[in-house]
């Protein structure tokens, strides 16, 4: 009923290119998350889909209908704003009924819908309150309720959880997903928090500087990042990068950096561009295995360095290891006791290595 298609959509604010030519298809009923650092153009894209901004290029379709020039109010969308945008002078009930009234629904229908939605979100007892009499979490629920009560075809959310404390955020995450399943609208959800993106999205679009770098399922983004930006953005702690020299000797190929040596299996080597003399290796912290130095000497892919920082996290620890000029993070079990300035060695399976082009950042395997 409402798949969303963007073709060549572009938005400039004067000289600022907030969104570069973008193609994007969102399936009907899908929960798509847009994630990226602040200023990457997420809000701009969302507002273009909403119709709150006019495009400077391209077209937007809902299903087969071209909505590029359709006014916000006629697009059958609902939006949850980052700061909620509740009507301060209206009760919770009127906040939720305001859009329904505009559609000319009868009093009883409106009443039924508002109360049903309020019950779904556990705000039934707040209907007579004004927004200023509510806590942050309650306002968030009202904003959600106001959006879904209209039963929109498209449901847009701009960092709806960023004003909540960590505990409430986790709780609301699950709740928004349940609500989404209940209303089955196509949802476009913006966040700068990659954990939120990974846990919520059917698919995720990773944005930076007005460009969608990759669109895929959480697993795809994690396992096969399209470039070093996505690789570094998805996953906590982030992937470590080492710029390596490529050395060929005796029919085998090695990538070397200060403190690191990667002997690549032949099938990997064939995938690399033959001319490249330098490559960037990416290693996820959770793929590093702490080993005795002797074992590292013998292994095909090994890294050695000095512990700089140890961050205990209860169940595990993050260890920042300095290697030559660069540093990478390892995620280790707590029982491996480490201290600052300890010399440590790691091995990593060649399957877990990511290789990137040093100039373009594109993933080579």
């Amino acid at each position: 009923m409402a798949a969303i298609t963007l073709t060549g959509v572009e938005k400039r604010f004067g000289e600022t290119r907030a969104l570069r030519e973008t193609d994007l298809e969102i399936d009907d009923h899908e929960f798509l998350v847009l994630v990226g650092p602040s200023g990457s153009g997420k809000t701009t894209l969302l507002r273009l889909v909403a119709g709150l901004e006019t495009l400077t290029g391209g077209e937007i379709y809902f299903g087969d209908t071209r909505v590029t020039d359709v006014d916000v109010g006629d697009r059958d969308i609902a939006m949850v704003f980052q700061n909620y945008g509740l009507y301060p002078h209206m009760s919770v009930y009127r906040n939720m009924a305001f859009g329904l009234r505009r559609r000319g629904l009868g009093k009883q229908v409106i009443d039924l819908k508002v109360r049903q939605t309020a019950d779904l979100l556990h705000i039934g007892h707040l209907l007579d309150r004004k927004p200023r009499q509510l806590s942050g979490g309650q306002r968030q629920r009202v904003a959600l309720g106001r959006a879904i009560v209209r039963d929109p075809a498209v449901f847009l959310l701009d960092e709806p959880l960023s004003n909540l404390d960590a505990h409430l955020r986790v709780q609301m995450r699950a709740e928004i997903l349940k609500v989404h399943r209940a209303v089955t609208a196509t949802a476009l959800y913006v966040t700068h928090d990659q954990v939120e993106a990974m846990t919520m999205g059917d698919r995720i679009a990773v944005m930076n500087e007005g460009v969608i770098h990759q669109l895929g399922t959480p697993d795809e983004l994690y396992d096969r990042p399209a470039d070093s930006f996505v690789a570094g953005f998805i996953g906590t702690p982030p992937m470590g990068f080492l710029t390596c020299e490529r050395i060929r000797e005796a029919g085998t190929e090695q990538l070397r950096a200060a403190g690191a040596r990667f002997r690549l299996p032949p099938e990997t080597v064939t995938a690399l561009p033959p001319g490249a003399s330098r490559l960037v290796i990416g290693v996820r912290p959770e793929h590093l295995r702490l080993v005795p130095p002797a074992e590292a000497e013998a292994a095909g892919c090994a890294l050695q360095g000095v512990v700089e920082v140890v961050e205990p996290l209860g169940s595990e620890q993050h260890v920042l290891v300095a290697m030559g000029g660069s540093a990478i993070t390892a995620k280790l079990p707590r029982d491996q006791r480490l201290n600052r300035d300890d010399k440590v060695a790691f091995t990593v399976s060649p399957d877990h290595l990511h290789v990137f082009d040093p100039e373009s950042g594109r993933a080579l395997r």
Partner: protein, 303 residues
């Protein structure tokens, strides 16, 4: 939609937290005493003329002109007020004219200022900033330079000596001011609130009157009162645009009678002045709270 969601964790309403901090204990100190004395002196300095007006208005003609003036009336009399409304001076006509023209000017100015101010605040069309600057520039010219052109225009339109002419005169100056004032109020309203209403399907005007105006009531009242006060106090325009006594307002009416009717009747003069000041004092006290809020609007998010 048959679905249950985890119960929310109860939270404290956001507004509560700030309320708990108690007031500091009042303790006398030298600094405070000096401040109190200074404020007291200033108060007396400011209020004394008003007190004198009130006191004289209540004195008999003999007591008011006594060579050794009395601080408070030894015999209180309402004769001065009685005389105002029954005497030769058309005081009640002036009063009615002033009330009518000032109220209508305020209402018209509020309506137009609201529309103009909203446009300045949210218009986004190319000329918004230029137009609003030009409007602001009119405020830098002294009132008196408008008199000539306004007189000629009203003369051509046969609007001299009419309420309408006077109201137009008042609003020419009030609307630019009001529009800027309303712009300030509208600027303080978060964009998302209006965008919510757009998403909910409302038109610009629908949003203005259902969302923006209800949120700007202090602004509307403040603007209205300012325009009312300005019109009420305006001496220049009625003096030049109105010659007929039956259309004259209080300020020129009183001015003329100071040299005529009131030349020796100080009690009458003060009674007339008192009645003239009264609406302003009342209006001020009615709106002073929203006015203070109005002048600081936008200083804090969510005010």
């Amino acid at each position: 939609m048959s679905l249950t969601v985890d119960k929310p964790v109860p939270e404290q309403p956001a507004g509560r937290a700030a309320a708990g901090t108690g007031r500091r204990r009042w303790r006398p100190s030298v600094g405070r005493s000096i401040v109190i004395v200074l404020v007291g002196l200033f108060g007396v300095w400011t209020l004394w003329p008003m007190y004198w007006m009130l006191s004289t208005a209540l004195k008999s003609a003999k007591e008011a002109t006594n060579l050794s003036p009395t601080v408070w009336p030894h015999t209180i009399t309402g004769a001065n007020f009685h005389e105002l409304f029954g005497g030769t001076l058309p005081f009640s006509t002036y009063l009615v004219n002033s009330v009518l023209t000032s109220l209508i000017a305020a209402a018209v100015a509020v309506l137009i200022s609201t529309l103009a101010g909203y446009s300045f605040s949210r218009g986004g069309y190319r000329l918004t900033s230029a137009a609003s600057l030009v409007v602001l520039a009119t405020q830098m010219l002294p009132l008196v330079v408008f008199i000539g052109p306004l007189y000629l225009l009203l003369l051509r339109a046969h609007l001299l000596n009419t309420y309408l002419g006077l109201i137009i005169g008042y609003t020419t100056f009030a609307i630019p001011f009001g529009a800027w004032m309303m712009k300030g109020f509208f600027d303080a309203i978060p964009r998302e609130i209006e965008e919510s209403a757009r998403v909910d399907g409302y038109s610009r005007l629908g949003i203005l009157f259902r969302v923006v105006v209800p949120l700007s009531v202090p602004g509307l009242v403040t603007t209205g009162v300012f325009v009312f006060m300005n019109s009420w106090n305006n001496l220049l325009y009625p003096l030049t645009l109105v010659s007929s006594n039956s259309r004259q307002t209080l300020p020129p009416g009183l001015l003329q009678s100071f040299s005529g009717t009131f030349k020796t009747d100080w009690g009458g003069m003060m009674a007339a002045s008192l009645i003239t000041s009264l609406p302003l004092v009342i209006a001020f006290f009615l709106v002073q709270r929203s006015m203070v809020r109005g002048l600081t609007a936008g200083a804090l998010a969510g005010t």
